[in-house]
Amino acid sequence: MSKISDLDIIDLAGTRAKGARPYYFNDPDSDRLLSIVMAVAMEHAVTRQRLDALERLIEAKGLLSRQELDDYVPDRAAEGERGVWTQEYIARILRFVQQETETLRDGVDVDIHAVQDELR
């Protein structure tokens, strides 16, 4: 038996249950993807709840009302910065799509196996 301090609790928390897992979709990759997306969705809700708690605490302390927050209008400079952030954010999430479409411009990509042979 292990000592508590030796446990890898991140690994143990996420460990699988014994018993072969069923896959549901026609392509098991969809099961994989859905599981990841749902975990991210949950963590997004967790963040949103944390933010909500923060807002309510700040309001309760009289520092800011949530009305003020909801009515917040960024000035032009802030608007620009927030827009850039949003663009970057979307691009990060869609990096894979971007990279796949780059082949339209660049043509068929270099075959790594061919390069291996070439440099062998």
Binding site: M1, S2, L12, T15, A17, G19, A45, Q49
Partner: protein, 395 residues
């Protein structure tokens, strides 16, 4: 569908001396999961049925040239239905997330939790563990309901991880329907006994497969004079159960690690033998054995009573059977379907009980006003007072 209030937040769960401490993010995770379950049950699940009725059944029956003949055929046909695939995949992954959320919360505070349990258990004679007990295949062939490590696995000395994780998540999984202490079934049984058989005063009570004692504590409270024995095979469950009961001020339960196949008590020893959600985790070999053990250990005039999910039976539609059987195939409940097909009445009679002493009934829970402070607008609390199927017999 009328609009329902969201399930109560996890922060209303009852907190006893070994209940893991949840932070804001833990509560948010459980609240997300409770709402996911609600969404799947009330919004998506009716569409699964509709897809069967409108698409899958007509198409399949046309191809077969005859009506679907059993739930296995329904399952096979539904496996290709996209709405069902999505619903099942979401259900499965939600359960996996629930396990991870609970385990992460518990493991992070394992040391103080074990210390608290040790302090409460304190070498008490009412906690009887047997490290030599062989864990039956029924409990270890797979990890039942996708709970990693099952009921029995011990990670460290004096481990309670899986007991604490079980306790922590059930409120979210059931949307608070079992009350703050998740003991609605045991409360319903205790109330049924008091109302229906006020003269019945069991002196010795045995509870089979008690897990962390959720449903045996209300019995022990209802009969404070009684000596209660609660057995299970899982040591982490029993340690946690004992500490939990102690911290709730309940001292008349002995938690014992033992196999229900063979308990060794004298004939006629108990006046009441109960179980809650136990039989579907037994086996075709053990269930008749265990029922005979119950008959043997029960005193003449004694009662055995078992809370379970409803049996399928011939008048249950194939679709209903198929949906209720989901856990057999998708939630590591290998005996679930077999058990729910049984003629339990016949099995109880085969164990020795007289036909006129057998009963089946439903018992209703009491709505926990600390969890649901206001009645529904129609004042009826429809759907909140949970119902349990119960079968049993007098000896």
């Amino acid at each position: 569908m009328s609009k329902q209030a969201p399930p109560p937040s996890w922060r209303h769960v009852g907190r006893h001396g070994v209940f893991p401490q949840g932070k804001l993010d833990d509560a948010s995770r459980f609240d997300f999961l409770a709402n996911m379950n609600r969404h799947l049950a009330t919004r998506l699940s009716p569409k699964v049925r509709e897809s069967f009725e409108k698409r899958v059944a007509p198409r399949t029956e046309q191809a077969l040239g005859r009506p679907l003949k059993d739930r296995g055929e329904v399952r096979e046909a539904m496996a290709r239905e996209p709405i069902y695939q999505m619903w099942s995949a979401l259900r499965r992954t939600t359960m996996e997330m629930r396990q991870q959320a609970g385990r992460a919360m518990v493991l992070r505070q394992l040391e103080p939790l074990i210390e608290k349990a040790r302090a409460l258990n304190d070498a008490a004679v009412t906690l009887q563990l047997d490290p030599t007990l062989e864990i039956p295949r029924t409990a270890c062939a797979v990890d039942i309901h996708c709970m990693p490590g099952g009921y029995h696995t011990e990670l460290v000395e004096d481990d309670i991880t899986n007991g604490a994780n079980y306790d922590a998540g059930i409120f979210a999984t059931t949307g608070g329907m079992l009350g703050r202490w998740n003991d609605g079934g045991g409360q319903a049984l205790a109330q049924w006994l008091k109302q229906k058989y006020p003269a019945f005063k069991p002196r010795r009570i045995l509870d089979l497969g008690c897990t962390i004692g959720h449903n045996v504590v209300p019995l022990a409270q209802a009969f404070p004079e009684a000596e209660v024995i609660a057995i299970d095979v899982g040591a982490p469950m029993l340690r946690y159960a004992h500490a939990r009961a102690r911290s709730l001020g309940v001292e008349n339960i002995t938690f014992r690690q033992a196999n229900a196949d063979d308990l060794g008590y004298p004939d006629g020893h108990f006046d009441l033998i109960s179980s809650a959600m136990f039989w579907h985790e037994s086996s075709a070999r053990s269930m008749p054995l265990q029922l005979r053990e119950i008959y043997r250990m029960l005193a003449v005039g004694g009662l055995t009573a078992h809370l379970e999910q409803p049996q399928y039976g011939e008048d249950m539609s194939l679709y209903e059977q198929f949906i209720r059987d989901w856990d057999t195939w998708n939630n590591n409940e290998p005996f679930w379907g077999v058990m729910h097909d049984y003629d339990v009445r016949q099995m109880v009679l085969d164990a020795g009980f007289a036909a006129d002493k057998y009963f089946e009934t439903t018992v209703a829970g009491v709505v926990d006003r600390e969890v649901f402070p206001v009645a529904e607008s129609n004042g009826e609390d429809y759907g909140r007072a949970a119902l349990w199927t119960m079968f049993g017999a007098w000896k």
